[in-house]
Symmetry: C2
Subunit: 989 residues, 2 copies
């Protein structure tokens, strides 16, 4: 409808003009909603675009519309044109989702345009939905980064659009499977609901048949109703009904409504639309249905969509005079949700998750749990640096948040469901990595600046030498310190508990290492393994790693001073190396038995007196299902899909070599399976875990077989089909082999169909033994037979799996297949003692101490006289079950802080209980808290202002009696319940 | 630049803002032009879209953007989005060309939008260029229809936009070769210049080398400076420079100008653009160059083009501070032309044409001269009906111009360079034909209405029986009269001279035929030939044609009354049929000798005592060059390209059969060459021409060879490499085999390279003999050897010629190849007596008498008592060299009339002289002229108001001392010079 007509309608008080119900806009959000006609089938037409923050092209190529020969997509034009289209007709609605793109666009707009956009937001014509920096992946993302990326978008929206800009609806329309933790986090962010597009084909069919496409998801086993989230499966993925795509890049027939011209098609189009609406309604519980009018990168010329939808609405509703019950109008996910909310329905509920996702019997999207294992590791590593940088920025009071933004932004982008998921094109993966690298470069400058303030003992101290990161120490490389006479190793512990950790410094010579008190400490030279030395691209020439033990203060640092020394010729090597013999690693807590053939035989927990026997442990491979995805050669394994040709994994070698090396700090067994797989099993002094550092690659493909490499742990644990995997690093879900809790599952793919995301841990257990494997990055895996856990650590496929990426997942570097190295941390405990071990260790793994190096001109005496060598932000010890999730300096005196109880209910007798502590203790080093305001998890709304919609499931209402969140301003004591995260805005005096 | 910034610049009196010269808009046309910087290389960036009025999709599919799977194109969106883009920045310019589309769009716009568009036109921001209904083909169009289609667009623009909407620039950017007559007509329409995109590759290279891409085209051999037209060859077809296409459907890099984002490319883009401008400037004479920023159906999302051009202009001009001499700005073809005009250059001139067009040595675009021979015939037939309908509408004072519009519009569409040219897809050809057919249906209703007013003798006459057309009489089919007892044949003569013509009426029985005086006249039954009977789709069962001679009054009708009679058994058949024997056709003027084998031997002009001997006459075929247009199999013959595999045409058969049939009205020889080629040579009583009716098809392709069928006339005329072909049915150009007048021609394709369009005639001659062949439609042909003329009449190719249409030209009907029937009219005269014969005959051929039929309930007595049986609009005889080109009733008392002198200078001693006559004589039957205003040829401007730009060529100025066009209102005496067309608006008292 033309604007002037619209105003005429309003003036005349006519509510129906041209057959289109016209609603005067009263404001944004639910107030701006058209709730339809209770006597009709109400079709909520939701114009939307789905803009991947990188996939086949980089995020900036997508933004600008560059390299359209790869994929036609230009987000700048989408936003340009959608805004202009909204101007044409006040009934039109548009939603926008990915703030990573919106921010790019917004920063190029004039004030006039910005004001226009604000007006549209205030009128509810433009609505931000989800509003994260991206639409994050749900399988391979860590909760810390999900929260960060959502908060990054939410902050932008809050700052620029205020309350009308606050997203209320989760919109995970494209991710390939849905995590329960994602829903729980969205609930904690104050969202009223969640819609997604992809669900397992059997699940979908069942729900459609039983009209349960929409439900209340009980998304936390710990948070009760705070974790409930109304959730809907969209009817058609996220696309429009068949033949109603009006995008410039669709070929469907436009509405040709001039009867004087040839091909007039209004009657046929109206008939077809009404039929489509009625067909869709069959699967849904109320007289409201949603149609997602858009798809990937659509609305580049929004006029084409809107012009035809305007006509469609007009002509379809005009059919009501002929008895049609279909009432169609522009809407948004919020308005659709609100209409459902008002429908007074008693919804079903669900408490498991939506993994794994299969779109056909052989199409399990479980490959991406592991795809791009190196990038998945780098992403987790980058988050580690980001959190440390925030902390250092805060404690050094640098107030450099705007610079940290580069890494925050890169991390926000990396959470995208074609980024950390590993399902992007290779060139795009490079770009993601470059962004992280660029962000880390900026961050490392901030780290250096922070230390330049934190290290000097007083104003007379000479300027500090630069602190730098050595990010390749995992391959024993740190070129800047190589051959240096003196350097320091300064280690920041980002957790709120003191940490005992063994570090390895690559060296070419011997050093005396002093701890922060000046005491020389035990530092043992371990040879760099051959498998490390031959890693392609390694330019460092370090032959040894100096291994020393560090005691790090909570939320603080210690500096270790390295000074070269000459090895005395007769100095007896303290480290004993034994090739190809039985190797028993044993410390105060654990005994690891490996036979002379390199087979792990037993792990024994000496304190608990429990042992696990291994029938097999090591590397196996599946051949990727090959094929060109023609009808006869479908479905190939690829970036998304894991489909083994045979369900039986093959060992990578028949024989192994083993080298046993023992020092006082660590005992290791380097087991080489073949020239592309090896593992180093380490047991550290006083350690309670067994570390398995695995190295895989280059995966050979000269036999023209794609290969998917797993590490399998085959034990005598009587696991009875059950296994346990975490969701996004937090709550753990029980899995049952060949089973789905909510539908009658057809077992076809016996391996892939039992894979789940492992973000941080997997375990199996029996009565008195639990073997937990912690991972240092997201991986996929499962328990394919009782007593066994397998974790896919690397994959290299030779076929594209025909889901759009258009490339096989065949990563190379230096002219050969990519080599990836990572770690599994094994914990053998009783079920009762497991949680405290894996919970603490998992937090330490992703919030790892960060090491920086500095070349020091002074000798130790002068250095120690000038610089602080250890420091902690804390004076009180915080309870072990408290985790400092976020510490972010917003302004000179303003901070955002998230604290977390990271134990689940009932998993530990001591720690699975509410815990109370004083928030002030975290700020002791900075100042005195003058005010705290508790916020939603996304930090964009005062918690006291949050009012979520109420839903009824199985007769029970989702509403909770709100305990008054008002707290005395001077009371900084905080209580956390299991798995609770609380977010505060903190102002210092 | 943002609008607010723009106004700020204006307010501050700053002429350079952001490096972009800003010009306050002072009005439309040349006044609104930015003329650049005299010290710089000025780049006129012309945003434009080229919208084919049908090609791969129908005009309405293109308009709506339907069937985008065939070709992505949606003109409604182009106009939507270009208008909106103009709103963003007042510097932006856009041109629009094809009014057939614009009219469709305009009729769907609100008043607000219309006002906005008018404002843009008045500001010179939107400019109509060319402004015909379509961008007409130049090879196969007739001048009558070129004028009509231009006038149709011009009228729309004049009525809706006034003076600012008047196009001044011809814009034939896509047609495949350029006719001199087109340029002459544009000059007569008052255009200031012409640009086109396609010129022969050798011509282009020569012009580019000699900086003569732009010239003064002396486009008429008769009209002197009134026919001069400044003409420019565009530098890059009609596309943008390489890598600067910013259309949504191009893949070139956008300007990525945010240095914070990856892939920032401003410096590289600026460098590349400056280099492109400088490279282009090399071929052009002044410091102004044009860049056509657009292409086929571009600007569907105009924002993408303009947004990037805005940036390009800004950044390129910013480079001037670093010494760049490139000054780029938005412009239009008018403004570019105006800048050239102001440059004070002395231009070269040209007086031949731009046919044929080749884009590479084997790529002569001469196939389309003949492609879709049936449609080319139907188009000419439709124009015949259109002109008659206009006349009848006028003389019956029906004032039904709005209804005639359907056929006018269809004819306007049909002139498109992928319509009558035959280069559209088959489905689209069907649509063009359907449009004509629909238009004819409406027109035939008007014809019926007109006769219902013209026929009754008085108000007591009973209502007339319906008049209907029988459009298949060329295959002896008129089903409605079949077996009828009584019917009338009413024949309208649309020329201003009385006509003697023989008509053939298909019948199943014998009839008495009475002329308009009631006298029974000689009507001979000739058998319908077997080749006619077997034409697929013929449903009529007429076995005979009744041939009678009609004397038709000038600009009027006669009715012939048919009454069935019984053949008296012993009635001696007057018609003699002689199979397979020598056949001499002879009348008062001509003798045609055909031997017993069916070979035409001689044509003798008895009066002039000249004879031509034929060594061969008949059907030959070339094998179409085959191939898939891969590099090794290039270039196939197709819809555009004629490329024979061998230059030697093969006879279609070794033997012929001949049937000689002689009556008093006509003598014919039916010569059957094989089962798909035949000709009927007819000589009518008192006729001065030999008629050759050819029938070709279904062309066999079971040998997998494409075939191009010619009729060859091999004579003993000593033609000395010269031959003569008309341009669009008017002036005739001399052709010389293997030669081009303006460049050193490389002879590669000895047949195709000598083909020219034959719109109406071709001749060869020697000292005292000229053999002229008139065609009934556009065909291609030439003289490949001395004494020989060949005319391609039909073609069927099996390969696409890779120029976009994507189909071989393989027309079928009724499950087999299409059968086409047409006519050649042969005139053997001395060179001195030829013109008067071919000029008059050619006009009678395209302004053919139109026959309508009516079933009559009354007997002749009652009929003749009630109805007028003959009528002429004229009382005075008009001079033979005057042609009534257009008679169009605009309103009850208003008419548009075009009269024409249709002889060239010097071609006839009597008729090649100026002629004076009284316009009133045409209107005698309607009323008395009260006022006449002379208009430009396009009828959109008073001639007195026309001021064309002045150009200098070879030192001579194009300006003519304007003879005062003011004439006394009561003087309706008109003088026409040879080849002059004069256009008048006539008001009756």
């Amino acid at each position: 409808m033309h604007i002037s007509t619209y105003f005429a309608c309003i003036l005349l008080g006519i509510t129906l003009c041209y057959g289109v119900p016209v609603k005067k806009s009263n404001g944004c959000g639910y107030d701006a909603c058209n709730l339809g006609d209770p006597m009709k089938l109400n079709v909520h037409m939701v114009p939307h675009t789905h803009d991947d923050v990188g996939w086949l092209k980089t995020v900036d190529q997508y933004f600008y519309g560059a390299r359209n020969y790869i994929q036609h997509a230009g987000v700048q034009y989408i936003l340009d044109s959608a805004i202009r289209a909204l101007d044409q007709n006040p009934d039109r609605r548009f939603i926008y989702v990915e703030i990573g793109f919106f921010w790019r666009w917004w920063s190029q707009q004039t004030d006039d345009m910005r004001n226009k956009v604000k007006q549209f937001v205030n009128d509810g014509r433009l609505e931000f939905i989800s509003g994260g920096w991206c639409m994050n992946d749900e399988a391979s993302t860590h909760y810390n980064s999900i929260i960060d990326q959502h908060s990054l978008g939410a902050e932008f929206l809050r700052d620029n659009f205020g309350d009308c800009g606050r997203p209320k609806i989760g919109w995970q329309i494209d991710p390939f499977g849905h995590s329960r933790e994602q829903a729980s986090l969205l609930a904690q962010m104050g969202f009223d609901g969640l819609f997604f597009g992809r669900s397992d084909y059997e699940d979908y069919a069942t729900r459609n048949r039983t009209r349960t496409m929409e439900m209340v998801w009980k998304a936390s086993a710990n948070l009760n109703k705070d974790g409930w989230l109304f959730t809907g499966v969209l009817p058609n993925g996220y696309g429009p009904p068949d033949s109603f795509c009006y995008d410039a890049f669709c070929d469907d027939a436009p509405i040709m409504d001039d009867p004087r011209l040839h091909d007039y098609n209004v009657p046929e189009r109206v008939r077809t639309f009404i039929r489509a609406a009625q067909n869709e309604a069959v699967g849904f519980a109320t007289n409201h249905i949603i149609m997602t009018m858009g798809s990937d990168f659509q609305y580049e010329n929004a006029n084409e969509w809107f012009k035809n939808m305007d006509k469609l609405i007009k002509y379809v509703n005009a059919e009501q005079v002929n008895g049609s019950n279909v009432n169609v109008f522009y809407s948004t996910p919020s308005c659709y949700l609100y209409a459902l909310n008002k429908a007074g329905h008693n919804w079903t509920s669900k408490s498991d998750d939506f993994f794994p996702y299969a779109h056909h019997p052989h199409g399990f999207w479980t490959g991406y749990f592991t795809s791009r294992a190196a990038f998945k590791g780098y992403e987790r590593h980058s988050n580690n640096i980001l959190q440390v940088t925030r902390q250092l920025n805060a404690f050094a009071n640098l107030n450099l948040r705007n610079s940290i933004f580069y890494l925050s932004e890169a991390m926000g982008v990396a959470q995208h469901h074609d980024a950390v998921s590993g399902t992007e094109k290779q060139e795009v993966a490079f770009d993601y990595a470059q962004r992280l690298s660029d962000g880390i470069n900026v961050a490392s400058g901030i780290i250096n600046q922070a230390y330049s303030k934190l290290l000097p003992l007083n104003s007379q101290s000479p300027p500090t030498s630069p602190q730098f990161l050595c990010q390749l120490t995992n391959i024993s490389e740190c070129v800047p310190i190589q051959d240096q006479q003196r350097f320091t190793v300064t280690i920041w512990n980002p957790t709120v508990h003191s940490v005992l950790h063994h570090f390895r410094v690559p060296v070419t010579r011997a050093y005396t290492v002093r701890d922060s008190t000046g005491q020389p400490i035990l530092a043992e030279l371990f040879p760099v393994s051959n498998s490390t030395k031959k890693i392609p691209g390694r330019v460092g020439t370090a032959t040894s790693q100096l291994i020393f033990r560090a005691n790090l203060p909570a939320l603080g640092f210690s500096t270790y001073f390295f000074e070269a020394r000459t090895l005395v010729k007769r100095e007896k090597p303290k480290v004993k190396i034994t090739p190809n013999d039985e190797c028993i690693l044993q410390n105060q807590n654990i005994r690891v038995e490996i036979d002379a053939q390199g087979n792990l035989q037993h792990i024994i927990n000496l304190k608990q007196s429990i042992a696990v026997a291994f029938s097999n442990q090591g590397f196996y491979w599946y051949q990727s299902f090959p094929g060109n995805n023609s009808q006869s050669q479908f479905q190939a394994s690829g970036a998304y899909i894991f489909r083994p040709l045979s369900p039986t994994a093959q060992p990578v070698s028949q024989a192994r070599s083993i080298t046993c090396t023992k020092g006082d700090n660590v005992q290791t067994a380097v087991i080489v399976f073949n020239d592309w797989t090896s593992q180093e099993i380490s047991l550290y002094d006083e350690g309670e875990f067994v570390e398995v550092e695995w190295t895989v690659g280059p995966i050979p493909i000269d036999d023209n077989m794609g290969k998917e490499i797993i590490i399998r742990y085959d034990t005598d644990i009587n696991s009875q089909s059950k296994y346990y995997t975490d969701a996004n690093g937090r709550e753990v879900l029980e899995r049952t082999r060949d089973y789905r809790p909510t539908w009658n599952y057809t077992v076809v793919e016996t391996v892939s169909g039992n894979y789940y995301p492992i973000n941080s841990r997997i375990w199996i257990k029996d009565q008195n033994r639990q073997l937990t494997v912690l991972t240092d990055r997201s991986e996929g895996g499962g328990s394919i037979s009782d007593g066994s856990m397998e974790i896919m650590v690397h994959r290299r496929t030779l076929n594209d799996d025909s889901l759009g990426v258009g490339e096989p997942l065949n990563e190379t570097a230096y002219g050969q297949g990519l080599v990836v190295r990572g770690r599994h941390i094994l914990s053998l405990q009783t079920p009762e003692t497991s949680a405290v071990h894996h919970r603490v260790a998992a937090q330490h793994l992703y919030m790892h101490p960060l090491t920086s190096f500095s070349l020091i001109p002074q000798d130790y005496y002068n250095y120690s006289a000038a610089y602080r060598q250890t420091w902690s932000a804390l004076t009180d010890t915080l309870p072990l079950n408290v985790h400092l999730l976020t510490l972010d300096q917003l302004g000179p005196k303003d901070f955002l802080v998230r604290v977390e109880h990271y134990f689940e209910l009932y998993e530990d007798d001591t720690y699975s209980k509410p815990v109370t502590f004083d928030l002030q203790s975290i700020f002791k080093a900075i100042g005195t808290i003058s005010n705290t305001v508790e916020l939603t998890l996304g930090a964009n709304l005062e918690l006291a202002d949050l009012k979520r919609l109420d839903w009824v499931t199985n007769g029970e209402s989702s509403s909770t009696k709100k305990t008054s969140k008002e707290r005395p301003l001077d009371d900084t004591n905080i209580t956390l319940n299991p798995m609770q995260i609380r977010t505060f805005s903190v102002a210092l005096a």
